[in-house]
């Protein structure tokens, strides 16, 4: 046993004798947890966007930032385990992706402030009390205003596929019935029929695509659990079954979906980083109004469009922010 081992041993004994210190971040370090909805949004690409946003405000991992990533497997049990694991790490605050982790932190009594990203209708979903004064521990940017984005998504589908008659909306929860109804009402003036299809796992997802294919319908993936973590599948099945998919952000398009109308992910994380900075600076999360995004990008996957035989008109080019080739 050399001297270093003795010192380390001694240090660990001392650390054990001081349990109050154990598990806390070093002084001058902030520990931020990232709690995504599922494996798909836990990959380096999304974490990288968060990291870049934090970096922009001077939080550099390794220097003054300790980023702890939760890894739920997409099941309710997995989410529960991820929340408890996160709580054990005692982060200064937690950044969530999607509605489900926010609900889970509430459900399991997480004490850390929560900055949400990619949250859908937080007021309607009961995540915050009030947009301008959320109260509680939860705040952050949302994906959009009410159901406004559904209209834009349906409109984009309509523009791309003038002959489209019906749309399948992926759902997984009774709570989605309200949104489904809203979408159905929005679709009526466009002459579109909208029906829901429960897709809680990959098999059911495949079933939804097969059903849409059979009905010559398009699929609307609106971002809430569980689709948020089955992004890759949604994109791949779109190509595989040649079903046009409109989604809530470009992540799906990059995975192969036809198009999306929604926020720019990087911007979403940048706004979140501002919240983080304020909360770490002493602001109460409940005092920080929920920000509604004002810029929405229209993204089209050129390859998928070609595969589906869709020609991009001049007007489409005008409203489209990016065509991924």
């Amino acid at each position: 046993m050399n001297r270093r081992q003795i010192v380390l041993g001694l240090a660990s004994v001392l650390a054990g004798a001081a349990p109050a210190v154990w598990g806390q971040a070093r002084p001058g370090m902030v520990r931020i947890g990232y709690l995504p909805a599922g494996p798909d949004v836990a990959d380096q690409k999304w974490i990288g966007m968060l990291r870049t946003a934090l970096d922009g405000l001077g939080y550099v991992e390794g220097r003054n930032l300790n980023l702890v990533v939760g890894r739920p497997d997409g099941t309710p049990e997995g989410m529960k385990a991820a929340v408890f694991e996160m709580a054990r790490q005692q982060p200064n605050l937690v950044v969530t992706f999607g509605n489900e982790p926010v609900l889970a932190t509430r459900k399991y009594g997480m004490q850390a402030p929560v900055v949400m990203t990619f949250a859908t209708d937080p007021q309607g979903a009961g995540l915050v009390g009030n947009l301008s004064r959320p109260g509680g521990l939860i705040t952050g940017p949302t994906l959009g205003v009410d159901d406004a984005l559904f209209a834009k998504q349906l409109a984009l589908l309509r523009t791309l596929l003038p002959k489209l008659k019906s749309v399948v909306v992926l759902t997984s929860d009774k709570r989605h019935a309200k949104q489904l109804k809203a979408i159905q009402e929005l679709a009526i003036p466009m002459g579109l029929k909208v029906r829901g299809f429960t897709a809680r796992d990959r098999d059911e997802l495949a079933g939804a695509f097969k059903s849409a294919k059979a009905g010559k319908a398009a699929i609307l993936a609106w971002g809430d659990y569980p689709q948020s973590w089955m992004r890759q599948q949604v994109g791949q099945y779109g190509l595989k079954y040649k079903v046009p998919v409109v989604a809530v952000h470009r992540g799906y398009v990059e995975a192969g979906a036809l198009c999306s109308v929604g926020v720019r992910p990087q911007q979403q994380f940048e706004v979140a980083a501002r919240y983080i900075d304020k909360i770490l600076g002493g602001a109460k999360p409940g005092d920080l109004p929920v920000e509604i995004p004002t810029e929405f990008e229209h993204v089209i996957n050129g390859k998928t469009a070609a595969a589906l035989g869709i020609a991009l008109s001049r007007e489409l080019r005008l409203v489209t922010d990016q065509v991924i080739e």
């Binding site: 009030n130 947009l131 301008s132 004064r133 959009g144 205003v145 406004a148 984005l149 209209a151 834009k152 349906l154 409109a155 929005l186 003036p189 466009m190 501002r274 304020k278 602001a283 005092d287 920080l288 109004p289 929920v290 920000e291 509604i292 004002t294 810029e295 929405f296 007007e315 005008l318 409203v319």
Partner: protein
Amino acid sequence: MKRQGRLFHKYALFIMALVCGVQLVSGAISIGSAYQDSKLALWRLQQEKALSAANRIEQFIRDIEKQLSFAALPQLGSAGSEQRRIEFLKLLRQMPAITDVAQIDAQGHELLLISRLTMDVAGSGRDRSADPAFKAAQPGKSYFGQVYFRKETEPYMTISLRSGPTVIIAEVNLKFIWDVVSRIKIGEHGKAFVVDANGYLIADPDIGLVLKKTNLSKLSHIQAALAKRDAEPALTANDLEGKAVLAAFAPIEATGWTMLVEQPAEEIYATLNAAIVRTGVLLLIGLVISALASVWFARRMSRPIAVLQEGAQRIGEGDLELQIVVETHDELEALAAQFNRMTAQLRDSYAGLERKVNERTAELSDALQTQTATLSMLQATQTQLVQSEKMAALGGLVAGVAHEINTPVGVGVTAASSLRNSAARLDTLFKEGKMMKADLEEFLDVSDQSTQMILANLNRAANLINSFKQVAVDQTSEASRQFNVRHYLEEIMTSLGPKLKQTQLRHVVRCADDIVIDSYPGAVSQIVTNLVMNAMTHAYAPGQAGAMELDVERRGDSLRLDFRDDGKGIEPDIVGKIFDPFFTTRRGQGGSGLGLNIVYNLVTQTLKGRINCQSEVGKGTLFRIDLPLAGSHA
């Protein structure tokens, strides 16, 4: 006096007060005016910032307005509505702040709505004739609506303008001004923000405050801004958190909003204070230098004066060799030269004076020497005289002694020779056998008379010799000692008691109880005894009544004894002789003439005192004796 005396202090204080006072006053004035100037400059700067920021917001609004007016240009032909739609889509792409744009026909019906957030609608025909944006739209002049908050959080404004028969109405999300105001830097911690005519916060670097629909109209500087009270370029106020800020405002004309810039007063005045501190430090350094210079100057001024003063003092004390050295090349140096000249003159006259004094002293000394010689001559003569007088006295004494002794001895010799003659005659008779009884009886008679005579005269001679011995008392025979005068005198009187009883004389001794002297008691006893015996013998006739008084008192360091009798007194012509040896008025009556001489000798020699005698015939005699107490036994 110290070298740096009052003059130095006076000069130093005066110069210091003058220089430092002027410096302080000018410093205070310059600090004060610099403070005012800088403050005004800072305020102006703040106002400039507000104006410039207002300009940028104005520009932002005017950009939107301009783009909107481009999109509103009349479109020709049947393709017009499609063209309009594309123009609107372009507008939305170019101007992210515009969320919705609608075209309304002359009757107020909606022809087209393009929205970022909701579904685009063409030809809905919705009646918007009551919309103030529609009603207020003027040709060539845009309408800017009141700020409103969507979902009670997002600030929006409606802009409309008339283009031909139609009206274009756009909804602008004012959150985009955030980009503008957050890029305006106001110092380190300052900020620029915009409020609408009602005091609602429209744009602020902290977007959260805007989204909270914050109304700032309660803050004093916002009230001033809304009332457009701009008497001063800037004003100090408290911000939402109660922190003191320096605020300036400028109107945004197009929309009736107000641009405000505020910066923590702390930060603003930090630079100002730093400048003041800097000036203060410089002033302080200046003051210290001035003070040092004052001290130096005062020393330079007072030093030669002090040297003069010191020199004058030393000259006054008699140091005429002193040269006062002052090299100031001015009146002071001239004064020092004058001093030196004066000293030289003084020195000269002093030297003359000294010479004269020496001459006079020498003369006096000579005279004195002469006198001293004369005196010693006189003294020698005196001693000689005294000696010869002594010899004469001794001669007198010896003559006296011889004379006195001669008489009894002569008588004795005569008696003895007479007795021898008788004895020889008897012897002859006896040898011849012719001696008769009568002859023997005659011889016995003669021998008896002769022996009696011889004996009496020998006794007398012996007495005389005894008295004579006493004249030269052996004064070392008795030691001095301490004794109480009164007790001792009373003892003496007691011892004289038997003799006094044979007379009609009373005697009184008056003496304080506590007089203790260190002297020769034997001498005192002899003196008193002799005086009493003298008075008994000479002052009174036998059997005459009288009184003798002895008064003793201490007078400073001497003791006075007054012996008084009320007898017949002494004739004036013999008073001067009473102390002479062998002087007596009763020669042949038992007086030896030595009693008072013995007293005189004891008083003057043994006791180192004085004695005198005052007498008046018929009244009495006073002997006054003064004995020194200190050294009486020396």
